[in-house]
Structures are given as C-alpha cells and as structure tokens.
C-alpha cells in the first residue's frame, strides 16, 4: 500500500523566474501512517518551504512549485495529487487532513478574534457545526490540549494568553478535525525551555492518542531525539541525508550532519564546561563588577489619578560579583528579570535600590572610565541601517566625548580584523552582512572603549546553530586576550555550558542558585534549576517521556511596600549555593 505521504523530487522556486531561483532542489521522502519525520536544517536550508509545499501554502508566500510530485493517501485509500489540485479542493484538505502549527504562536492567531471563534471556525469549515455545538466542540478541543478552565478561556483574545498557552491553542486548532498528518514548523523555537518541554510532551501524547503522522521541522537536532522516527537533514535546499533516528544520530554519514551533531553546542549536563580561567580562591583580587542588593520595581498605576497601587518586582535583591576574565551566566526564562538586571547595571533602567561598583580594579591601564559595554540579542535591529560600519564603530568614542582620529581608526581596523572581518568593511553598511557577521560587528563596537565588563544579552540566541558555535569561540578568545569579564545572559543551557565559568539561575526576580558551572549543571540543588535542566533536550535522552507540568510562574505584581523575606542559603561545596525553599 502507498504510504500516507509520498514526495518525489520536489522543486520550489521564488520570484518572477522560479526555475532559476529554486530554494528547494529535488527533495523526496515517504511518510508512513503514525510515523514522525524530523526535518532538520538551518535558516535558508529550505525546510520550511518544503513543509509549506505539502499543503500548498507556499503559493501564498510568493513561491511556485516547479517540479516533482506530492501525493497524499486519503482516509478512503484514494490517492490525492496535491500539485494538480484546485484551490477549492485544497481547502477541503487543509485543516481536515493536514493540520499545521507554526513557529510564532504570538502572531499566528488572529488578534481581533477570540480564541473560541478561531477554534470553532475549524469545526464550521469541515464538520458543519454551528452555534452551541461548535462552542462545545471548541471547549473539548481546549480540554484535549490540557488548558485549564477551557470554557472561560474561549472568550479570551490572544493578547490575554501567554506564548505557551497560545501554542496549545494552535495545536488544539490544528488537531480540531483529527487530521492524519500534522506539520509542526519549529513549534517551540519561540518558547521558553520548560514550556518547550511541555509542548513536546503534549505533542507526543496526542500523537499516541490519535495515531497521526507528524512532520516536525526544527534547527535543533537535540530536540527531535525525543520524538522522531526518521530524520531528514537539509542544507541549501537539498536533503543531504535521511534515515532512521538512531542511524543518523549514531552513524551520521554526511559531513554536514556530523557538523550539526558535533560542532554545535549540545547540552551535556556539565561535562562540557570550560576548564580555563576558573575562579581562584584567593580573596586578593578585586571583582570587575560587584552587584549588591539590586532591586528594580516598576509601579503599577490604577484609579482615576493613576496612583501607584503596587509594583512589579522585576528584580528583587540580586547580588553577585564578577572577576576579571570570568564569565558569569545568568540563566532564566522570559520574564524572570535577567535582562532587567543587565539593563539596570548599564543604567538603561533605573534601579530602585542596590549598589554596583564596576571597574573597581582595572584589568589593564588603558581601560576606559566606562567599563561596562553591551551586546544585544538581535544583530539585525541593533545596528543603525543608515550608518556605515566606520560610523557605527566610532559612535561609542563620540558618545564618551572622544575624538575620531588616526588612533581611533587604527583601533577600528584592528578590532574588525580581530573579530574576523576584512578592513574594507568600514565603508560598508549593516545590510551587507550576515547575521553572524553583524554580531561580530556588535562585539567589535562593544570593545571600542576597552571595557572591563561586557554584558552579552542573549548575544548568540538569534544566530544559526553553526554560526553560534563560531561566535562563542570568538568570545572565548577575546576574553583570554583582553581579560574581559562577561555577564552572559541566556536561556539556552547548551550555550551557557560552553562559555560560563559560573552560573546564576534567576527565577521570579531572584537568584535561586549560583555557583561553579560544572557543579550547578551536574548537581543542581534548587527545584527550579532541576526543572530547567530536565527540560533541556539532548541527543542522549532519546525517546524520553516528558512529564506534563502546568505550574505557572508566580505573579511578580506585589502590593505597595511589600518586601520579600531575606534569602537563606544552603551551601554545597566551596562555590555553589542555593536558596532555601519554603
């Protein structure tokens, strides 16, 4: 019998001349009923375009299928040719036989319609349900994805729900009519790691319940180890390798697959931490940055005159110190206060309380009076598109009242060379560079003032995995060379493991655990750290059964004048302590 889905020699092109502009070049695979295929690749590899071709949504994104065939076996065993189908025929297949979930749950739901209306629409389109029947069906669909209090949530609009909840709504919608194939296009990339674990658990569970097939698209080969039966690795529009899960993970044949598996950071539970530049236990050295009792609160206003009725405790009593040449990683999920901490240190937000002393001891004589610099997450948004690279690099010097002279220009050229870009880049503009190159530019800009501390706020999160690895290498080299102290803010444990000497885990505005990277990652003590580490997908944990956990992060809004109890700490070893849990 024919497999559920059979694709041969698929070619997809874009633009006015699609044949000449192909981004998918001859991809083919078969998918059996109940099977899960993971398509792995970096941005631009053609993985999403391949997926969107299956339900022909690629037509609406300006793409054109220029060759090959896509055949779907329908429930009655008839074969449906997706390439020759008309638009009305396709609308009967989409949603009914092929469901799809997308990367960005925040933008993938219609902001002006309630989620109830949007789920009901699926039932209306394919089941002909209306009114109360449709509402009841929508409630069942929400129950199925384990959204508590489903009946009330139907009335919500998307802005009232968190990203994780919205992705569940998307799943509920995609599975409303029990499609036999679910296409998941990077469904967890925009989510926190613990939420990602929940969504993965949910998908695995629903797959068991319904017996559907699944195509799972991701850039993270570690993530698919838990769910896939087969893997297809894509690069530059071609499938460079495909096969059974174990075969690909254990005996990769193609160099690119080997690169993805070995050169790219994968989480190794503390076995891959750095061995250089560990903190010496002598108390003689002054820290490059010392933060003491940092508190950042944002007032919540209400009432006719907008009086403050409470405060968001974004950062609530954070202390740490950072030695020259050391990396302290601050890990935590979105909303935990890790970025606010960094911004407060730079003076980008006003701290309510607390002191910090930076550059108490200068690592080298030529270091400037502005010892803290920052590299931001999105290299596309943090370089002014209208300025040349020379102007961008000169900016910090001008901003501190310096003059752009021959010495500055020599420094620019030297730094560019040091971060691996040609000197001719000076005359060019940001759009001429790739994401990785732009992040190198941001790093060069941060180093223009000879800082002693560099704050890296999710500095590699927006980059492709293999680019990530190279930028991390560069950061380590620069650290050794200039004796820089890094405050490395990240949600990605695999990346943190590669670069951190010490790790601080932050949860709801407070540090819950801090210490030596190896011991925090290999022997986490606080329950939140344990949960965070357990949620990290790894190649080692193959076909692992994720546990569903619907615990919510506590609200950070406190009544006026509320003060948290002073922290009590348990010590574990010379440099590892965790907050005592209530």
């Amino acid at each position: 019998m024919m497999p559920l889905l059979s694709i041969t020699d698929l070619r997809v092109g874009f633009g006015r001349n699609p044949e000449a502009n192909e981004v998918v070049r001859g991809v083919g695979f078969d998918l059996a009923e109940g099977e899960t295929l993971a398509i792995v690749g970096e941005s631009g590899s053609g993985k999403s375009v391949t997926a969107l071709s299956i339900n022909r949504l690629v037509d609406y994104g300006g793409g054109r299928i220029t060759g090959g065939s896509i055949k779907l076996r329908r429930a009655d065993n008839s074969v449906f040719d997706l390439l020759t189908a008309t638009e009305p025929q396709l609308t009967k297949i989409r949603g009914a036989e092929i469901g799809m979930i997308f990367q960005e749950p925040m933008t993938s739901l219609n902001p002006v319609l309630t989620i109830g209306t949007q789920i009901e629409e699926s039932f209306r389109l394919h089941r002909g349900l209306t009114g109360r029947q449709a509402t009841a069906a929508a409630k069942d669909a929400l129950d199925r994805v384990r959204i508590p209090d489903a009946a009330r949530r139907l009335e919500y609009t998307p802005n009232q729900l968190s990203g994780g909840m919205l992705q569940r709504v998307m799943i509920a919608m995609a599975l409303a009519c029990n499609p036999r194939l679910l296409i998941a296009d990077e469904p967890t990339t925009a989510l926190d790691v613990t939420v990602q674990a929940q969504i993965m658990a949910l998908l695995a569970e629903l797959k068991r319940e319904t017996g559907m097939s699944m195509i799972f698209i991701t850039h993270d080969i570690g993530l698919v180890a838990g769910i896939a039966d087969k893997i297809m690795v894509m690069q530059g529009g071609e499938a460079v390798e495909q096969g059974e899960l174990n075969q690909i993970l254990d005996h990769p044949q193609h160099p690119y697959t080997q690169h993805l598996l070995h050169a790219v950071p994968h989480f190794a539970s503390g076995r891959a931490t750095r061995s250089d530049g560990r903190r010496e236990q002598d108390k003689g050295t002054e820290p490059a940055l010392k933060v003491d009792g940092l508190v950042v609160r944002f007032p919540v206003k209400s009432g006719f005159f907008g009086r403050a009725s409470g405060a968001v405790h974004a950062v609530d009593g954070v202390d740490f110190d950072l030695m020259p040449g050391e990396t302290l990683a601050i890990v935590g999920e979105s909303g935990s206060g890790k970025s606010t901490t960094a911004r407060a240190i730079l003076g980008l937000v006003r701290s309510t309380r607390g002191t910090f002393s930076a550059g108490a001891r200068k690592a080298a004589a030529e270091q400037s009076a502005l010892p803290v610099q920052m590299v931001f997450q999105n290299p596309y948004a943090s370089l002014n598109p209208r300025l040349s690279i020379a102007s961008i690099l000169a900016e910090p010097v001008i901003a501190t009242g310096g003059r752009v002279n021959a010495q500055t220009r020599t420094k620019m050229a030297a730094l560019l060379k040091r971060v691996g870009l040609p000197e001719s880049s000076l005359e060019r503009y940001p759009h001429e560079f790739s994401g990785g190159q732009r992040q190198r530019l941001c790093i060069a800009r941060a180093l223009m003032l000879n800082p002693s501390v560099v704050v890296l706020d999710e500095a590699v999160s927006a980059l492709d995995v293999s680019v990530q690895a190279r930028v991390l290498e560069l950061l380590v080299e620069l650290q050794r060379e200039f004796g820089l102290a890094y405050l490395f803010i990240s949600h990605d444990m695999a990346v943190v493991e590669r670069i951190a000497h010490r790790i601080a885990v932050i949860y709801a505005g407070q540090i819950v655990e801090i210490g030596d990277a190896t011991s925090v990652l290999s022997e986490p003590k606080h329950s939140y750290t344990k949960k965070l580490i357990a949620a990290v997908p790894t190649i080692d944990r193959r076909r692992e059964h994720f546990e569903l956990d619907t615990r919510q992060v506590p609200s950070l809004v406190r009544p006026l004048g509320f003060e948290p109890e002073p922290a009590r700490w348990d010590e574990f070893g010379p440099d590892h302590r965790a907050r005592v849990e209530a």
């Binding site: 002006v112 629409e121 009432g303």
Partner: protein
C-alpha cells in the same frame, strides 16, 4: 469610563487655547467691523462718530478685556450676537449645521462604500492589471481639485442629460427627504470622490500588510476559503488606518466645504464662516471656530473609542 471622564475634562482646556488663538488672530487682520460694514463711507465718519460706534460694538477696549467679556458670556451659554445677521451666533450656526453634517455624513458613506471594496480588491489583485487600474483612478481622485470635479459633473448632467442640480432654498431632510437628497447627492459625490480615493489607497496598503501576517497563513492552513480569509480574518485587522483617515477627513468636512457649497449654492457652514471673516463679524467667527473645534474633538474621541471596539489589544488610558 474613567478614560472617558479624563478625556472630557481636557475639552475645556483645548477650547480655551483655540479661543485665545482665534480671538487674537482675527483682530490682527487689518480693518474692523465698522470699516467692513460701511465700506468707503467709513472714511466720512468723524473721529467722535467712529469712537461711539466702536464703543457700541465693544471693540474700543483692549483685546483681553474683550476676551474676558466674551468668556463671561460664554459661561452663560451666550456666544454673542452676530453683527451681520443681527441674531445670536449660536442660532446662526445651528441653522447651517444640519446641512453641513448631512453633507459630511453622505460624503463619508460614499467614500467608505466605494473606497473600502476598491482597496480590498486592489490588494487581493496585487500587481495585476486590475490593481493598477484601481490605483490610477485613486490617484486621479486624490489629485483632482473638487471644483473641477463639481463643474464636470454639472456640465455632463446638463449637456448630456438636460438635468440641472437642484438649487434654490435648502429643504432639511425631515421636511422633504427627496428634495433634500436631490440637493445634496451631487455635492456629496463631489466631496466623496477624493475622500474615496484616499480610503482606497489606505485600505489597499493596510490590506497588503495584513495579508502577509502570520494569522492569515494560519487561517489558510485551517482550510478557510479565500473569501473568508479576506473578509473575516484580514479586513478587521486592516480597519484601524481606515478609521483614522475617515475620522480626520470627516472632522474637516464638519468645518464646511467652502468651494463645493459655493458651486452648488448651498447654505453651509463654510460659506458662512468665509462671509463672517470678510465682514469682520468677530462674534460669529469666534463662535463658529469654537464650534468646529468642539466637533473635531468629539470626532477624535469617537475614533479612539472605535479603535477599542476594533482591536482588543488597544486599551485606552493606559500608560
């Protein structure tokens, strides 16, 4: 509700600002109501006669005293007496306002009824010949002065069909609806044409933005037909800029349309204000500008409330 109260509380402040501006501005124009009224004969007045007249009109005082008197009257609901009409200013304005309001409403209805479908059509046929056609017509609509259009309409109707637009005394809608519509339809079309062109262009670009949004792709992945995607998922998200534009245009129209009123011989606010300025009818100019500013604020408030109704993400009054 709180928001509404706060918004309404700002109205008097704006009105005070506007009134001071117009009060000073109209007095900076050379000449006064005596000269305007008597024309060349004003030169024959003896200084004593002139002073007596100035005292009679109250324009012998410094401007801030005049302003103070005027504001005191305003607090008692008295906008002053129009020198040219010899009637209370408010009565003169309210006599003219129904026509202007009806004309503005008709023009807006025409603009939205034509412009939105045209914009949606152009957006969904992006870069095809039909899209190009709509865009060219919209461009012409926006760039044609409305007196040209008005004259073209009148000429075509009279030369081609032997029909003349209904002129003569204006009949309010509630007295003779048919005659009223026959008087206002052509002026409304004239005003609505450029308005529709703007609506077309803005709804086209808003739709184009929205059609490439993620949730539109989601709707298609659910199996929604093209029609459902456009009218149910995309259009509601594209309405905000259309409402903004319509609010501004409608607000302007409430101030009267001088040229169109002149061509179709309609007694609207626009011509009244022009006459008042030419006649240095200070009280009438001040009163009507205040009235127009007030209308504009009401329209803006309605626009903001419409935003809330259209998009649940928008919460008014949050900082």
């Amino acid at each position: 509700m709180n928001y509404l109260m706060r918004r309404l509380a700002t109205f008097p402040l704006v009105l005070i600002g506007v009134s001071v501006l117009v009060f000073v501005a109209i007095r900076m124009v050379p000449g006064d109501s005596i000269t305007a009224m008597l024309g060349t004969e004003a030169g024959l007045l003896t200084p004593a006669q002139r002073d007596a007249l100035a005292a009679y009109f109250g324009i012998d005082q410094p401007w801030f005293i005049q302003y103070w008197r005027w504001v005191l009257g305003l607090l008692h609901g008295n906008l002053g007496i129009s020198v040219t009409y010899g009637k209370p200013v408010l009565d003169v304005i309210l006599e003219r306002f129904p026509l202007t309001l009806e004309l503005a409403l008709l023009a807006m209805i025409i603009a939205l009824a034509v412009g939105m479908p045209a914009g949606v059509f152009a957006a969904t046929h992006n870069e095809k010949l039909s899209d190009l056609g709509v865009r060219v017509v919209a461009m012409i609509g926006q760039s044609t002065p409305n007196f040209v259009l008005a004259l073209l309409i009148i000429y075509t109707l009279s030369a081609g069909f032997g029909v003349l637009p209904t002129m003569g005394a204006f009949s309010p809608l509630w007295q003779d609806p048919l005659r009223n519509l026959s008087q206002l339809l052509l002026p409304a079309v004239t005003l609505g044409f450029a308005f529709a062109a703007s609506v077309t262009r803005i709804s086209r670009s808003a739709m184009l933005d929205v059609l490439s949004d993620d949730y539109v792709r989601t709707a298609r992945s659910k199996g929604a037909s093209n029609r459902t995607v456009i009218w149910r998922h995309a259009l509601p998200n594209a309405l905000i800029p259309v409402v903004t534009l319509s609010g501004i245009e409608f607000g302007y129209l409430l101030g009267g349309a001088v040229i169109v009123e002149q061509i179709y011989a309609l007694p609207g606010l626009g011509r009244m204000i022009l006459d008042a300025i030419l006649q240095r009818d200070y009280a009438l100019v001040q009163g009507s500008v205040l009235f127009i500013a007030f209308n504009f604020m009401i329209v803006n408030l309605l626009v903001d409330l419409a935003y809330v109704a259209l998009d649940p993400r928008i919460r008014l009054g949050e900082r």
